[in-house]
Amino acid sequence: MILSEYKSKELLSQYGVAVPEGRVARTAAEAEALCREVTATKYVVKAQIGAGGRGLAGGVKFAATPSAVRSEAEKMLGKPLVTQQTNASGEIVKEVYVEAAVEIAADAFIAIVLDQNAQPTLLASATGGVNFEEQARRNPDMVSSLTLAGNDVEAFLQGLGFQNAKAAAKLVENAHKAFLANEMTLLEINPLAMLASGDWVAVDAKISIDGSAMFRHPELETLVMDHALSSVERTAQENEINLVKLDGNIGVVVNGAGLGLATNDMLVDAGGKPANFMDIRTTATSFQIAKGVELLLEDSAVKIILLNVHGGGMTVCDTVTEGVAFAYARAKRKPPIVARLAGQNVEWAHRMLSERRLPVTVCTSMGEAVDKAVSIAKGGRV
């Protein structure tokens, strides 16, 4: 559950973390008008998307005047922004944040996460900025970590070369409070900027809230980014199915995340192109599975359905085949199915597939099913 930049900053400022003054706009005209409410000598216009890598992709632009703000906002709004962290089609920019540009005297990076023992842990580096992630990946030693409970944050930051470490430690303390109170799984401030005055300010911020803890934080529900998922993916979620759309032509129906990942790996190795990743959660009913399959059938790119199920202790084979049968009974378009079923209730599921007269080819191994699906997708015989 990722919060967009401005919502992250709103939340942090409630806990005493300093952020530059800013306003969010949904149209270019609004962006220009809002400049009047922001005290600044220079503005910065920032695309509000979930993915990182924005700065290098043209999603952050400086503007000297309100009319320049308008034209930068115009270039971003309603258009996809492709960054290193999005897929090839990018993420559509629906909101921009107009902010007072600050004079940065020094920039740093901090993040708070839960470590493997669920202890809140500070990650920090005295150098931050747009290239930080790339640099840190190449040189992991750039980032130092400290368990927050019972440790001296100021001395730690001082040791890393932070200027005015006392003020930076105070900011970390406030951020830590926000992290705990809102059950965050990640709080990242990059850059954390020191102004000429010595004050530390969160120039960019990213927050991820634990989705499993949302029941305790109904007030955060409106803050969570709703455009991180496509409508198809959201419908799937509502039906207990994790679905990620891809751009191939083989619709994949699989139970379990591990088996789903394994299936897509094998499809790609065999020269095929999956149309999606699917993980039917153990809690899904056959009606919900039918909805998931319908989402694939509605996509005209899908030429074939690969059904790969290992009936387990919680999702048995026939629950899935029943869902497929429901979906096919209602669908206008009935692409061929290649099925590989194993595990709990496999015999019953096979019988169901043939009795419901589904256009199915049954295979015994995953490899055989994958090869068959790829060959049909490429125009081979069913």
């Binding site: 962290q85 591990g258 088996l259 990942l261 394994a262 153990t282």
Partner: protein, 289 residues
């Protein structure tokens, strides 16, 4: 032999009186596992499925000698139940519950520190010693006692690989689902250590996936010693959609690599045999034996 649990293990169930608790306790008992008690605060003194129900794990231990617990309670009570079991010094604690809030794990992990309890999960399908004891929600129809030890991050792939090893006539010593959550109890390294000491286990299969540090930690451990038994690993998610990956600091290496390739490279360097895909695991095992 097997690891962690066998036919002598006495199991209590936190949340036995609930719908899932009832269903999976019944299945496990039918499989022949030795279930001795249920725990449900407020229902102490009653009976369910013919077993006594207690308010706390400590009472269940005192009255029945239970030394393992299956936790199947709603997510917001899971931490409480895990801590109840740890405080009662239960040896093996299996938490099946999904979506346990991560911040709730802070206290659980602190309670675990310095205790002798082994926590499996949360969000684990459980642990199975075929023919001996089942603590979890996995299917058992394809399980056979045998020589393959399995430690896995994926329930569905465990069922798949387990079935394949049975068809090949190898069977399993014990299968452990370490759980799908970022913060969890037992990991690959602890499983490897126990499988190494176990006479029944002749070969170990690790089923990994993208994200987390399990594979990296296993590789680091295996480079420190001559393990003495073949280890085969399958790491899935090479072609995972980008959206499945974390967008920002999650990609920093202290959280583990974001690619399956990095993980398999490290494991291969540590002497692990890498299975190309899910169909290649059993051929690798057979060849290694």
């Amino acid at each position: 032999m097997a690891i962690l649990i066998d036919e002598t293990t006495k199991v209590m169930v936190h949340g036995m009186t609930g719908r899932s608790g009832t269903f999976y306790t019944d299945l496990a008992m039918r499989y022949g596992s030795n279930y001795v008690a249920g725990v449900r605060p407020g229902k102490g003194g009653t009976k369910h499925l013919g077993l006594p129900v207690f308010d706390t794990a400590a009472e269940a231990v005192a009255q029945t000698g239970a030394n393992a617990s299956l936790i199947m309670v709603p997510a917001h009570h899971a931490a409480e139940a895990m801590i109840d079991a740890i405080t009662a010094m239960v040896g093996v604690i299996v938490c099946v519950t999904e979506r346990v809030p991560q911040h709730d794990m802070t206290q659980v992990m602190a309670a675990l520190e310095g205790s002798d309890s082994v926590l499996i999960g949360p969000n684990s399908q459980g642990i199975l010693t075929p023919g001996g004891c089942k603590i979890g929600v996995m299917p058992t129809r394809d399980a056979r006692p045998g020589v393959v030890g399995i430690a896995s991050r994926s329930a569905s792939l465990t069922s798949e690989i387990l079935a394949q090893t049975s068809v090949a006539g190898l069977g399993q010593s014990t299968t452990v689902g370490v759980g799908g959550d970022a913060i969890h109890g037992i990991g690959f390294v602890e499983c490897l250590k126990r499988f190494r000491e176990d006479d029944q286990t002749k070969v170990v299969v690790l089923i990994g996936e993208i994200g987390g540090r399990e594979e990296e930690d296993a590789a680091a451990y295996l480079t420190t010693l001559d393990y003495g038994k073949p280890v085969i690993a399958l790491v899935v998610g090479r072609e995972a959609p980008k959206e499945k990956r974390m967008g920002h600091a999650g990609t920093l290496s202290i959280f583990g690599s974001e690619t399956a390739q990095d993980k398999t490279d490290l494991l291969r360097k540590a002497g692990v045999i890498i299975a190309k895909n899910a169909d290649d695991v059993v051929p690798c095992v057979t060849k290694a034996l």
